[in-house]
Amino acid sequence: MRSQAAAAAPDDPVDAGRPLVLVAPGKGGPRVASLNRAAREGGIASGELLSNARAKVLDLQVRDWDTQADADALRRLAAWALRYAPTVALYDGASGADGLFLEITGCAHLFGGEVAMLDDMRARLKAAGLAPRLAIADTSGAAWALSHHAACGTIAPSGAQAQMLQGLPLAALRLPAEALSLLQRLGLKRIGEIMGQPRAPFAARFEAALLGRLDQALGRTPEPLVPVSPPPRYHARASFMEPIFSVEHVLVAADRLLHDVAAQMLRDGAGARVLQLLLFRVQSKSAPDDDHGVTPLDIGLAAPSRDPAHITRLMGLKLERLGERALATDFGFEAAALHVRVAEPLTGHQVALRLDERQTDPHAVTGLVDRLRQRLGAGAVRVLVPRQSHVPELSEAAVTPAPALAQEASEAWRADFPVGPRPPLLLPQPETADVIALIPDGPPRQFRWRGVLHHVSHASGPERITPEWWRRTGDRTRDYYLVEDTSGRRFWLYRAGLFEPDAPQPAWYVHGVFA
């Protein structure tokens, strides 16, 4: 193991203007979980009660701490970091769960050495609005210590861990709070103060963690990393002299990379089943991307293959289908990597693709939806989903299916919704009608709608529905009636407004028709 590079995600959220804190529930109420520089300058400390923080800073911005979003962001950052090294590991809890280890052994030279690599990393992270703390050392532990407690970009010369760590505080060893506080109570502050001491007395008084961490940092015992994604079975990487933009160029690059991995697979008698083409974008300084400039393209094969032409063709089809936006980039791609995630011995037979009409696979619907959308355009396919609202026009929504199907799976139409009969056709807009009815809440006797006079033979109702007051629409309470006219047609009418003193005269509307 030559080098470990650690890149700590910054404490500071991107926008460092006004004081901002993220809060999480804690003892005695919400507590500050994270804060930006402006907030820190306002005297707020991490872990403080929100009420205290507010007392210190009047115009404090407060958001809930979204640990999931943090974790997601870190994962995206890890995907981005794959451009530097194939093995990237997230910090575990003990390391703070807010940064990355990169196993850069054998990678630094691709970037012109360790210094250049760190410079490149820092420049890109800064461009993305992050404030990185970077360090390189022989061990993860030392890299973590230096990244957190030494100047950004510190590189420990190989074998010089001990010397570099000497003066750092003991907290740099990623010790449990308990051990750290005990050390402090004993007056021990710097790593150097325990490095030279006899081991036995410490071993007798501390959990294994203390000496274990020290040994890890010094490289006496290994610290295994758990990579974010299992390292690809086969991989190839290429940087371009000039950024590339077009589908053709991407395919040419892919073809070249496929030839690289094909050679490796041929050696093993294997073929690829799942591949991923990673396209690294030239990053724009002004608009940092959510995905940190990586465009992935996943290809699954029905049967293992190592035929570059076949796979390139599939990639071409996929790109064609995705359309131009798939490769949307301001400044082009500067590098690409091809990872073979799943490989199998290349022996199987091609299986015919056939759509069984009787299949009950739920994904079939998704497939159909996908095909319809390819043909009719996105947004052309909608699905009605229920929204829990008493107000009829608000009680359903037409949404684009793909996300809706996944997201609203729990939102299903249910028979036990406490609502009255609803017409199959709800008019897009309620339409006014002239109605004769008994005051105050008798059903319509007759009504004129769209110029036609209807005599009511049967009626039921009213079903009274008050507007959703919190929307402040100014709507009035409605009384709905289901009526049947003398020729057997059924309508859904409502009177907007109740007969009350000082209230304006209610008005009548037709809102729907039954079959």
Binding site: V57, K189, V419, E463
Partner: protein, 1096 residues
């Protein structure tokens, strides 16, 4: 005969009757998070709509009925008292007892359900209902869709309660609630079919959740709070319309045009229910009175006997006259049993050596003094007894008894054992929505961001008024015209004063002669072994039920400890009544504001008042206690009083009639009852109205009625020729009294404790210091300040040590070389209790194992005491091993080495400490460990560690390390700033921030207390300064303040003009690590009022 025929009115059909309707199913907001109107609102609306009667039935509770009862009596409306019984399987029925016996069955049913369920729930089943059904009328509420299961349940209830007599009317009815759901006719049809089949006649009801449809939004918000969702997500959990409100008879008849008999029946049912809460006659328990004697005789006899003991030289004639007069009054009102009951409690406490002291309207009577209920000698203060027991109000006397806070539980358990749980229980306290909580919950429901709701709730400080004034909203940087915000504020205002849940009152005990659970439902309290009733003290008062308040008071514990220590070390035995009275030295000490630790007068506000008031006799203390309260301060009565006292202003009375009311207080109203008397004498209130006014001020419930009182009060006074300005001030004072006012009798009881604690401090400062620390937590000051104060009074304080300290602080003979200790004065040995986090039990074991020879080394200590590593480590952190020749680090290292490598850090430690695997203690001496070089602890580090382990250091004051630096910067010490020559000049001082305080009465002014090695500095930060230096004021632990020194007599303040945060400097003491782990005590607005004892 069809069932319907039963119900025809006997006299045939009346001709063209005016429509009559009684709403039989209405909920109040005691159906928590369901009902959206107060019981009072329901009642008033029902009366307004002309309903024949109103039935309030809250979900499995009677908690709200007393309020409804009181309101209905006032409004002249017939109220049906009942509950909505909801079984575990969802069967719902309103239940109304027709008579007192049936009412007792209902309360027992609810008690049964409460007692077997966790707090806040009530588990009842249909079988239970049937078992308690005799004499009840049930209105069964059908589910949305009728089911076979429901039909079976209904049939069971109906059959089980079917009248035996042929012509007797049925007692089970089926509710028909017009649903406005589009299926009206089908629904009514199926209900009619069911009613015929099961023979349960239909009755019309609105199943009302609110009194007026305008409350629909609030009802929706309550759903959201209940379901913990935002309004936009609440969906079908909200009602489709606002129809569940009270409706007038004509409208009900119109809605029920297909079943008019269902409307008619409501009044017939109401007529059958004759039970009223007025029937609950309270009877005092018999126990305290020996059989064969009338209570009055017994009381008179007891009083006579005890009077002789109180006055060994003979009862003074005027006291005897007072006793006779009081006994006659007690006799005529029949209160003897009450006094005997209180006497019984006090006697028990005394038998256990539990110090106690009564207070309250009747407590400061000669009879109570004789019986030992209070120690305020009636010869010392003349309080008019009959003023407090008012014959015409018919209210029982009121005596609260304070007990030592650590031993009150013994008294409580005595009451339970003496009267049994069926007859003794604690009152409830209704926890109401206060502004902060209201806006937070409404904000959450409306989906306002945490930011906005926090900003809004941040506007509300402490014991606030009900509203959210627009200016405050603007202050928070929010736009009060924003419709979303307006809506939130409107709803929050409506939610104010809604009950949230029932909690246990601090000590109001209700004792009855008969079974208590036949008077009111009893429920489990959150504390084990406690039960409380569903009614709060106002309810109890309103029904004329009597209670004894058994309260806890920390100062009584401290005084008892002090008196014990004095007896032990100095050989004098005192009690509250025998402490030498009217000692001039005590008053001189108080007049110097030398009152740290003294009961009630130790706060900064009190301390600044003492030198101005210069108390010279007991009654001055009574005034001192009462004057620094929100009432007199808000009413701007303090300065007029002081001016008159100092002779700067003539004593005059606004009128002849007020002279008798205000005579004792130089014409300035200071006590709560004076304000009430003004309302009666000067504003023309009846005593009853004055009492209502007082209650209105004390709660949020009557927010709306205050302005009518105000008008009446001011106009009343103007009409009687008083100055408008005086009237305004009197009213503001009443407003201020609200929850925190002091009646004279309470003040007198407290004044006695002020005097006794001051006396101890004056003559036995070392005893006072030890006893106060041993009674912590209590009072205003932490051990650090108490220790500092004691040292300033020449007391030697010794550090905690494993070989010398007990758990409590103790007194040790002074050494000869101790200059401070005068002739035979003891020194204080700090107890191990001041070591933070130390467990008492384990520590006591360690102390016990010490034996006479003491410990000589840690291994021996560990072996002998069996103390866990965590206890030993905490002792090491406290530097308590000095007598073994080890400082804290050396001790810690040694402790860690004791158990060898097997012992792990963290929580695993204690469990393994005694595992048999440890042969090490025996072989330890043979095992030679490699030497480890631990850094030497500097004095600065020791001080910091002392502060974090003990909250104080005897070694040095943290600020002393910076003195040279500070001096170079021209910063003077606290002692220097007291110099009279500096008064009026500017200076800079620096110190640790001890207390930050923002009193409600001070309009945004912040008071800081700084401390350096020479003393304390009081800093005043005006609001503008605060805004500019918010971060420093709120964040600094170590602070430099520049400003003008203001001196009023003995009171010295610095008015801050600039503030500098020196906190980072503190880390220099520890060479760059943890800064001082000692945070200042934050006293937010209002909270210090809560600290002080208020009567409940």
């Amino acid at each position: 005969m069809t069932p319907r025929a039963h119900l025809s009115p006997p006299g045939g059909r009346p001709s063209a009757p005016a429509p009559a309707f009684a709403e039989l199913v209405a909920a109040s907001n005691f159906s928590f998070l369901e009902g959206a109107s107060h019981a009072q609102e329901m009642v008033l609306q029902a009366a307004h709509l002309g309903l024949a009667a109103l039935g309030i039935a809250d979900r499995n509770t009677l908690a709200g009925v007393v309020r409804a009862h009181v309101a209905a009596k006032e409004a002249g409306l017939k109220l049906l008292v009942g509950a909505r019984l909801v079984t575990r399987d969802g069967f719902e029925t309103a239940c109304y007892p027709t008579d007192r016996k049936a009412y007792g069955r209902l309360t027992r049913l609810l008690t049964l359900g409460n007692r077997r369920a966790p707090k806040g729930e009530c588990h009842i089943d249909l079988d239970d209902i049937i078992a308690h059904a005799q004499g009840q009328i049930f209105i069964v509420l059908p589910p949305r869709t009728l089911t076979a299961a429901f039909e079976a349940q209904l049939a069971r209830l109906t059959d089980a309660t079917a009248p035996t007599a042929q012509r007797a009317p049925p007692s089970v009815f089926l509710a028909y609630t017009p649903g406005f759901d589009g299926h009206e006719r089908q629904r009514l049809g199926s209900l009619q079919v069911l009613a015929e089949k099961v023979r349960t006649p239909l009755v019309a009801t609105n199943d009302a959740l609110f009194h007026h449809p305008d409350r629909k939004p609030l009802a929706d918000v309550l759903v959201c709070i209940r379901e913990k969702c935002a309004i936009a997500q609440a969906g079908y959990r909200l009602a489709a319309h606002a129809e569940r409100h009270l409706k007038p008879p004509e409208e009900m008849l119109r809605l029920c045009v297909r079943c008019p008999e269902a409307v008619r029946r409501t009044t017939q049912i109401a007529d059958r229910i004759t039970f009223s809460l007025d029937e609950l006659r309270y009877e005092y328990p018999d126990e305290p009175c020996p059989p064969g004697k009338s209570p009055q005789e017994h009381l008179e006899e007891l009083t006579r006997t005890h009077a002789r003991a109180r006055y060994p030289d003979g009862v003074p004639a005027h006291v005897q006259a007072l006793i006779d007069k009081e006994l006659a009054l007690i006799g005529s009102l029949g209160y003897a049993r009450y006094f005997l009951t209180v006497y019984d409690v006090v006697r028990f406490a005394r038998s256990r050596d539990i110090l106690c002291q009564g207070r309250g309207s009747a407590a400061n009577s000669a009879v109570c003094y004789c019986l030992g209920i209070t120690s305020v000698d009636p010869a010392q203060i003349d309080l008019l007894f009959e003023r407090f027991i008012s014959a015409d109000r018919g209210e029982p006397p009121d005596i609260d008894v304070d007990f030592e806070h650590e031993r009150r539980e013994e008294v409580i358990q005595y009451l339970y054992s003496r009267y049994g749980r069926e007859r003794a229980a604690i009152c409830a306290t209704v926890i109401h929505y206060r502004p902060k909580m209201a806006i937070r919950e409404v904000g959450k429901a409306l989906g306002l961001t945490e930011d906005v709701t926090a900003a809004l709730s941040g506007l509300v400080w402490g014991y606030g008024e009900g509203a959210f004034p627009e200016t405050h909203v603007r202050e928070a940087g929010l736009d009060p015209d924003n419709p979303e915000l307006r809506q939130a504020l409107l709803l929050a205002n409506q939610l104010l004063g809604f009950p949230r849940h029932l909690s246990q009152h601090v000590g109001g005990f209700v004792l009855t002669r008969e079974r208590l659970d036949e008077t009111v439902p009893i429920l489990n309290a959150s504390m084990p072994d406690r039960t409380n009733i569903e009614w709060d003290k106002d309810d109890i008062d309103a029904l004329g039920i009597l209670k004894v308040d058994v309260l806890a008071l920390g100062m009584l514990s401290a005084i008892r400890r002090s008196l014990d220590l004095i007896a032990l070390h100095y050989g004098h035995r005192y009690d509250l009544a025998t402490v030498p009275k009217e000692d001039a030295q005590v008053y001189a000490m108080l007049s110097r504001a030398d009152s740290v630790g003294v009961f009630q007068v130790e706060s900064r506000a009190q301390m600044s008042m003492l030198p101005r008031l210069k108390p010279a006799c007991f009654y001055d203390l009574v005034i001192e206690v009462a004057i620094v309260r929100p009432g007199p301060i808000q009413g701007d009565m303090v300065h007029p009083y002081l001016r008159r006292r100092d002779g700067l202003e003539p004593v005059s009375f606004p009128s002849q009639e007020l002279q008798s009311v205000l005579g004792k207080t130089l014409g300035v109203p200071l006590f709560q009852e004076q304000a009430m008397q003004i309302a009666i004498v000067a504003a023309g209130f009846t005593p009853d109205e004055a009492d209502k006014l007082r209650r209105a001020m004390a709660t949020f419930r009557h927010v709306g009625t205050i302005h009518t009182f105000r008008e009446k009060f001011i106009n009343g006074m103007l009409a009687r020729g008083y100055a408008g300005e005086f009237a305004e001030r009197c009213f503001s004072q009443i407003e201020g009294f609200g929850e925190y006012g002091f009646p004279e009798s309470h003040a007198a009881s407290f004044a006695l404790l002020v005097y006794v604690s001051a006396w101890i401090k004056c003559f036995y400062p070392e005893v006072f210091c030890a006893a106060l620390i041993n009674s912590q937590p209590m009072g205003f000051y932490q051990p650090a300040q108490l220790v500092r104060d004691a040292r300033e009074h020449g007391v030697e304080i010794r550090p905690p040590d494993v070989n010398a300290s007990d758990w409590d602080c103790t007194l040790e003979p002074a050494t000869r070389r101790n200059a401070g200790g005068e002739d035979g004065r003891c020194a204080v040995r700090l107890g191990l209790r001041i070591v933070s986090g130390l467990a008492e039990e384990a520590t006591r074991t360690t102390i016990l194992a010490r034996r006479d020879d003491g410990y000589t080394d840690i291994t021996g200590l560990w072996r002998r005491s069996g103390a866990s590593a965590s206890v030993l480590e905490q002792l090491a952190d406290a530097d308590a091993f000095r007598s073994l020749g080890l400082d804290r680090r050396e001790a810690l290292w040694a402790i860690r080495g004791l158990e060898g490598g097997t012992l792990q850090t963290g929580h695993k430690r204690s469990g393994q400490a005694r595992a048999p695997i440890f042969a090490r203690p025996e072989t330890g001496d043979l095992f030679q460990e490699a030497g480890v070089a631990l850094p030497r602890t500097t004095l600065g580090e020791h001080v910091v560690e002392d502060y974090s382990a003990l909250g104080l250091s005897l070694k040095a004051h943290p600020v002393s390390f910076f003195r040279d630096t500070l001096r170079r910067q021209g910063i003077i010490s606290a002692a220097e700033h007291w110099d009279e020559r500096r008064a009026g000049r500017r200076a800079t001082v620096a110190g640790l921030v001890l207390v930050r305080q923002r009193p409600g009465t001070a309009k945004g002014v912040i008071f800081l207390t700084l401390e350096d090695e020479t003393g304390v500095v009081n800093v005043v930060v005006w609001p503008k300064m605060f805004e500019r230096h918010r971060r420093v004021v709120m964040g600094a632990h170590f602070l430099a303040v520049r400003g003008k020194i203001e001196r009023h007599g003995l009171v010295i303040h610095i008015i801050a003009e600039s503030l500098t945060d020196l906190t980072p400097q503190l880390s220099r003491l520890t060479a760059g690590h943890e800064p001082l782990a000692h945070a200042p005590k934050d006293v937010r607005e209002g909270s210090w009022h809560n600290k002080s004892r208020d009567f409940h």
